[in-house]
């Protein structure tokens, strides 16, 4: 599974302070820790408090690039910040994120084509997140059609079926799993599927348990990627074990340790 590490986000206090004080070593440390823990891609978000998102995004990316060439997921709602991020992060970056809203797709897909980036697209529209799988899939199909129009390869599209917190929208979990399963049937080659995992456990008492359990279920449904906290070792172990049980890796007694070994 492709892992996008979620920790470089101005929403977190240490990152917010690092941005404000321009303290690169904090960013270096978070980036390195996530990559060492198995992240393939690093999410980069300047946070809601950023007064100068353009400058902050540029600073964050340059800071990360001092220690790693790992692909980045540019996490912003602003078009100019997105374009700047994609232009300096290089190819194989991720747009995080588009949605089923036509204006958003028309704004972001040309950027994906121009910068050869991958696109994360949420199955939601202006009217919000639908409660059932059918409506989510309908949005996903529209997103696929938009990609084709904009000449973005469907293999570079990651459909995010949008999991909501289980304590407010319990019926969504099943709908999301069903969406992940059926996304593979939309077209051939099929779009990939992704989840912003930690959303499922917002406001619950034992968040790690909810995250882990849902990740295992989603992997069994065919999930290709997740935005998550790779520093949660138990979560990573569940992922590795789930992939093992799905036959993606060959078993050996030290399979946890062997995962991602170079």
């Amino acid at each position: 599974m492709l892992i996008i590490g979620e920790k470089i986000n101005g929403m977190f206090k240490n990152v917010k302070e690092a941005i404000q004080s321009k303290n690169k070593s904090i960013i270096h440390e978070i980036a390195k820790k996530q990559l060492d823990a198995g992240a393939n891609v690093l999410d980069v978000n300047v946070g809601p408090a950023s007064v100068e998102p353009l400058k902050d995004m540029e600073w964050l990316i340059h800071s990360i690039r001092e220690i790693s060439n790992a692909p980045l997921a540019i996490d912003t709602t602003k078009r100019d910040v997105m374009e700047l991020g994609l232009s300096i992060a290089g190819p194989d970056s991720f747009i995080n994120s588009a949605s089923g809203q036509k204006e958003k797709l028309d704004m972001l897909l040309p950027l994906a084509k121009k910068y050869k980036s991958k696109v994360i697209a949420l199955t939601m529209t202006k009217s919000g997140v639908p409660a059932n799988a059918e409506s989510r899939l309908e949005i996903a199909a529209n997103i696929v059609a938009s990609c084709m129009e904009h000449e973005v390869e469907v293999e570079n599209l990651y459909i995010d079926a949008v999991i909501l917190p289980v304590n407010v929208a319990q019926e969504h979990a099943n709908a999301v799993l069903e969406t992940i399963r059926q996304c593979k049937l939309i077209c051939d080659p099929a779009p990939k599927t992704i989840l912003g995992l930690s959303n499922v456990s917002q406001g619950t008492i034992d968040r790690p348990l909810v995250d882990r359990t849902f990740l295992a279920m989603a992997l069994a449904a065919g999930l290709d990627a997740a935005i998550l906290n790779p520093l949660d070792k138990e979560l990573m172990n569940v992922m590795i074990t789930a992939e093992l049980l799905l036959g993606k890796n060959i078993y050996c007694d030290s399979y946890l340790e062997a995962y991602g070994k170079k």
Binding site: N249, C252, K261
Partner: protein, 318 residues
Amino acid sequence: MEHVIEKWPGNVYELTIGATKEDGGTRSRKVKAGGINTLPFLHFEGLTPNQPLIAMEVWDIEPSEWPENLKNEFNEVLNNAAQWAKKCEDLGADLICLRLLSADPDGKNASATEVARTVKDVLSATSIPLMILGCGNNEKDSSIIMDISQIAKGENCLIGMAVKENFKTFTAAAQAGGHSLIAETPLDINLEKQLNILISDMGFGSDRIVIHPSTGGVGYGFEYCYTIIERTRLASLSNDKMMSQPIITFVGQETWKIKECKADETEKPEWGSLKERGVLWEIATASGYLQAGSDILVMNHPKAVNEIKNHINKLMEK
């Protein structure tokens, strides 16, 4: 029809065996195994930078169990490992596989010093890269491997067999002498991966291991070995780095001990000429393992070696 081409994310490690003067050794050439990023001989799909290697077996005792028609090929040199090795070099072997069977406690029980001398003699008599194996007794092999490794230091040999019971000593010896290591497991893909992890956990480069998944002759478990090798290779191509090592098979050893290659015409008239049968059996076994993905084949009969070398050359044509 659609032309299906698979694009694999991984490849097999490329391993160099032997060291020339520039590398601090005395070999006239080096050989390379592995490096492939597709299934065997699919030149339209990926790169096969190195063709499979043929190692020829040399023993430090007379192989009394060998059938006459195999022994006859080496008659004058069977009691002298160095001359035997030189003969194999002349016969076109890519490397020598020296088996130090004299160390066997149930046989001659030769000492570490004695077998180390043999290694030195073979190195002096030949100029091609060397593979060195113990006698197969774990305890004894553990006690002689350090001396063997030291005497061949700088020659970048391939030494073995590291198994679950002795891998620590073997890994340390290979590390100290600057050699690569054969890791052997009993036909079990899970144990195979585990042994590679254990060896690399000791700080030994995972790109300096060669996998011996066990070898079965045709008619004697060949299919099981074929499947294990194929699964290993698919794992390497899927980028499992603990399964991405070159693979070795002991074709000759598994051919010449079976009754089909030993029973002569008086015993089994319906099987035809023993002289041809044994050679054909070794060729059939070797060609099967080539298709499975074996990167190094250890062989015995000069005619079979010659035939397989021609076969490899044809398979390597693009």
